[in-house]
Symmetry: C2
Subunit: 337 residues, 2 copies
DNA sequence: GTGAAAGCGCTAACAC
DNA sequence: GTGTTAGCGCTTTCAC
């Protein structure tokens, strides 16, 4: 079956024996608890070091009723947005000695249920749901007791659920205000499918920033460059063209810029373009490079980690909070000198 | 401190009491071990179900000396290539009841060491290293005993190390053969930095497929669209232009296609272009859509999971193996009808 | 100051 | 067939 316990792994008893003290004493020395003579303490530390002793967290967890692990359940197959979140999350949790179980549910409720079940068996100290696909996700079918649960870049209908999201509306305000500050007056909005909450929020931010909204200038479509190109073509066909375009994401923005380029329209002189996501793969390859709005996802992950740690400590941390976005101006709105 | 053990979590003893049997009997019933009357078995199962009992994997692991967890250490911050690998890996491991600890070392040896240490404390049954950045990674500074270790999309110098990689050379052969089969005779290769092993292997595959190699047609540069555009410009300036270009990745390929488009060169009629990675973000947005070579990374992840499971079972699984790539022809090489 | 012993929740060997 | 018991490796009272 298994390869058995690793030959070079020692138990606390081995350390005690090696140091010539009792098991309890060795434990106190290694945990800096109780009152011990410095001499004994050093003796044990030395013995542990010589043996390359690493305490068995499993036994520790069993005793303490706390496993120092949390589970993360992603619903977008570890997609592009999940990555930076995970990175921030992992950094903060690791610093607190907490390890992260990664699970991918891919929007399959059955699979998600199995994952949660497995994680509960591992006695995780907390649970994180991420992945934006389902804007409002149902309550998981398993009783989670009072296990801390945090929704990051995703939401829950449960009353009092703790959710952490980027401030899409604020980000859209930043983008629109930026275009206005450049003297643009006729600003179009080419964005994604209306059933995304992020789309609705960004649109709301855009509309709120304008003194007068022209519905003809708002175009919904898929999240693709092809849609950006098509939408740009439509806008160019209008009797009065826009002088700026706020795109719902960077792929759409890039498509727009390409179509404008094809039509010999100068960006940003004739039409300024700004995207959303600040995805370098898009912003940097675009000609000119794309201005965009950064959702600070890594920071969001770090914040999530800190919040979860507080929840594990027993603090009440309910409700939805949104982290501010950042404007990143580049050549597609600000002409290079 | 901690919120203590969840109130709705019961122990095996509770189940036994609830079913009116002994602890040992309950264990046998739930583990389908030993010989029990069907009646007793059902009674226990019913009790467990009523209580919503979930065995404590920690205790189980402690007893069995096997934790049913493995650690994954990524060195590219959960980058684009790691994602599909993780997805495949996770699927296979989850099916085997094994959970995955995710760690991000970001090529920082100190951080990697801390991660390994933490994972050893958690008594993981195996370790996976991934992330291609460091082509040849040093032996981790910690004694891993006979813990199964697998390098996926990454390598190790340790003799007998188990490595799993895509067959870059084979992929390059596929691409080059494809271009040859279309009747192209002057095939250029625009690729990434020479210090990547993948670059060297792909180049070798390209060279091996040609009867005569012209060094002037091989261009190394960064992994970017901008480099693709620049390289294309250089190739166009040559006295005799190539009639096909094999790019080291899809970003370079897309840059090439764009530059050709800018210069009114028809793709694929005048020059056929093929990329590598089959990254849909690039292949689909490109005009025309990009032919490419798929490394089947999800499959690689699945294969890695199966291999690791065999290693955990105690089977010897050393040496490097490479998984075949797949050709994905699109409009940038095959003219649409 | 240090050692002995109970117990975290589970499994497996051994009684009955 | 079923119950009892001895640990897995650790922490933590409680004696001495």
């Amino acid at each position: 079956m298994s390869q058995g316990k690793s030959p070079n792994r020692y138990t606390l008893r081995d350390v005690a024996r090696h140091a010539g003290v009792s098991l309890g004493t060795a434990s106190k020395a290694l945990n800096k608890s109780g009152t011990l003579r410095q001499e004994t303490r050093d003796k044990v530390l030395k013995a542990a070091d010589e043996l390359g002793f690493r305490p068995n967290d499993l036994a520790q967890a069993l005793h303490r009723g706390q496993s120092f692990t949390v589970g993360l359940i992603s619903n977008d197959s570890f997609g592009r947005f999940t990555m930076p979140i995970m990175e921030g999350l992992e950094t903060v949790l690791h610093a607190a000695g907490i390890a992260l179980f990664m699970c991918n549910a891919t929007d399959d409720p059955e699979r998600e249920k199995r994952h949660i079940d497995q994680l509960l068996g591992k006695r995780v100290d907390g649970l994180i749901f991420t992945g934006r696909r389902a804007d409002r996700r149902p309550v998981p079918g398993l009783a989670l007791g009072n296990l801390p649960v945090l929704y990051v870049f995703s939401q829950s209908d449960e009353p009092g659920a703790a959710c952490l999201l980027p401030d899409d509306e604020g980000g859209a305000r930043l983008a629109t205000a930026h275009l206005l500050s450049l003297g643009r007056t006729r600003i179009a909005h080419v964005t994604g499918p209306e059933d995304f909450e992020a789309v609705r929020l960004r649109r709301r931010g855009y509309e709120a920033s304008l003194s007068k909204v022209d519905p003809a200038l708002i175009l919904h479509g898929p999240w693709s460059e092809a849609w950006g190109r098509e939408a740009a073509t439509r806008l160019l066909a209008m009797p009065v063209r826009p002088d700026a375009i706020f795109a719902g994401n960077d792929q759409i923005a890039r498509g727009i810029v390409e179509a404008l380029r094809d039509n010999a329209i100068s960006v940003p002189r004739d039409i300024a373009v700004i995207g959303f996501d600040n995805w370098s793969v898009m912003t940097e390859a675009s000609r000119p490079q794309l201005s965009s709005v950064d959702m600070n996802l890594k920071l969001l992950g770090e914040e999530a980690g800190q919040r979860l740690i507080r929840m594990i400590r027993g603090e009440r941390e309910s409700g939805t909070s949104r982290l501010p976005c950042t404007l990143v101006p580049r050549a597609s709105t600000v002409p290079t000198p």
